[in-house]
């Protein structure tokens, strides 16, 4: 009888400890799938499209990405109830930026608008002195060096 009580007491404590440790893991590591297609304005699949998900609210979560298949399909595994910025990029198409918070699996298709921008223009743009990114303007100081700055003192 005494032995049974000891076993019961041990199992009871063990279960409480297990529940204590497992509950946060179960509740916080829940993920959902964002799936869909990347397509052009004629609804043709656009393969090799980059879909990058950056968590905006918590730095602990990793940036994830997917590259769409030949059928334009993509699949991303995102954390539950975390705000993500989704960037969709493909050479020859305009960049799409979206935000999303998942509490269940979701299907979302993205329609890319063609751009006349070539890789050459992308490279030139990156070399420009002023970089405009959404709500911020960054001035690349190395592009504004005057002749005097280069002279030895």
């Amino acid at each position: 009888m005494k032995f049974k009580i000891i076993i019961y007491s041990f199992l009871n404590s063990y279960l409480k400890i297990a529940v204590f440790f497992l509950f946060p893991i179960i509740s916080f590591s829940q993920t959902h799938q964002l799936t869909g297609k990347t397509q052009d304005s004629l609804q043709n699949p656009v393969p090799n499209t980059n879909i990058i998900a950056t968590p905006l609210t918590q730095e602990d979560f990793k940036i994830t990405f997917a590259i769409s298949s030949l059928e334009g399909e993509y699949k991303l595994k995102l954390e539950n109830n975390i705000l993500y910025q989704i960037a969709i990029t493909h050479l020859g198409y305009k960049k799409i930026t979206d935000t999303i918070t998942l509490t269940s699996d979701k299907v979302k298709n993205y329609t890319l608008q063609e751009s006349t921008e070539t890789l050459e223009e992308v490279l030139i743009k990156a070399e420009m002195a002023v970089i405009v990114k959404e709500d911020t303007i960054t001035y690349r100081t190395d592009q504004f060096k005057t002749r005097d700055e280069g002279r030895p003192t």
């Binding site: 393969p47 980059n50 990793k62 940036i63 990405f65 490279l123 990156a126 690349r140 190395d142």
Partner: protein
């Protein structure tokens, strides 16, 4: 199916030059100090390795990109002919990267085609891009004026079967999933790559109007990845038999 695919590529690409603007990305090799913790190596071997290091430092690779494909290959340079150990040094230098002779990536078909030399035989292999299980990091740094982001992955060596961690820096603003040799699959151009024995760094990007992507693919020797793995397994078995 494979044969038809190769034929299609050959018809489209082999005999015709690609009529599009290219972007040429140049990479240089920075060998790691592999002799650092090896004190027991004799002087002759040490000198040979150091010679190989010098050759590796002079190596330059080019990645030609246009809207439909990328082609990675070595830039041929004239090396002094008065080196009697040129072949040995070149062989050692190759081991720092183990890059294939040339690697083609066709974006729309999601296939890579590369030439790999094994015991004096060159095989042309066609397969889907390798999955490096890339994990993106928040780390960023500036490379050649571009904002580069870090990624970590795992690479399995074709010949030895051993796996090792790799680190890459890529540029999101250049949304081309390409890079040195078979290393690709990130949402941007790879500009720096940390391998087992060397670091590969971008040295310059040039925009060219020349339509000069020429391919030399031998249809008869084209094999898929399973066939390559079988060839390597058979060779390893023979080598083990000889060594035992």
């Amino acid at each position: 199916m494979t044969k038809y695919f190769v034929s299609f590529i050959l018809i489209c690409l082999l005999n015709a030059e690609i009529q599009a603007q290219n972007t040429d990305v140049y990479y240089k090799v920075f060998p790691k100090d592999i002799l650092k913790d090896k004190q027991n190596i004799d002087q002759q071997t040490r000198r040979l390795v150091e010679g190989g290091v010098n050759y590796a430092k002079r190596e330059e690779y080019i990645l030609k990109i246009n809207d439909t494909l990328s082609l990675f290959s070595k830039v041929n340079k004239l090396i002094s002919l008065d080196d009697p150990l040129k072949d040995i040094h070149e062989g050692i230098a190759k081991n720092f990267t183990n890059f294939n002779n040339q690697t083609l990536y066709i974006f729309n078909n999601n296939q890579i085609i590369y030439d790999i030399s094994i015991l004096n035989t060159t095989y042309t292999v066609m397969q889907e891009p390798i999955n490096f299980n890339w994990k993106l990091s928040n780390n960023q740094k500036e490379i050649l004026g571009y904002n580069a982001q870090k990624a970590e992955g795992v690479h399995k060596d074709i010949l030895t079967g051993k796996t090792f961690k790799i680190e890459a820096w890529f540029i999101r603003d250049i949304p081309v999933s390409a890079g040195p040799d078979v290393f690709m699959g990130l949402p941007g151009l790879i500009v720096e790559l940390d391998l087992l024995r060397s670091v590969i760094k971008i040295s310059k990007i040039e925009k060219t109007n020349k339509a000069d992507i020429n391919l030399k693919i031998d249809e008869k020797q084209s094999i898929d990845r399973d066939q390559l793995d079988k060839i390597i397994r058979n060779l390893n078995t023979k080598v083990n038999e000889i060594s035992n």
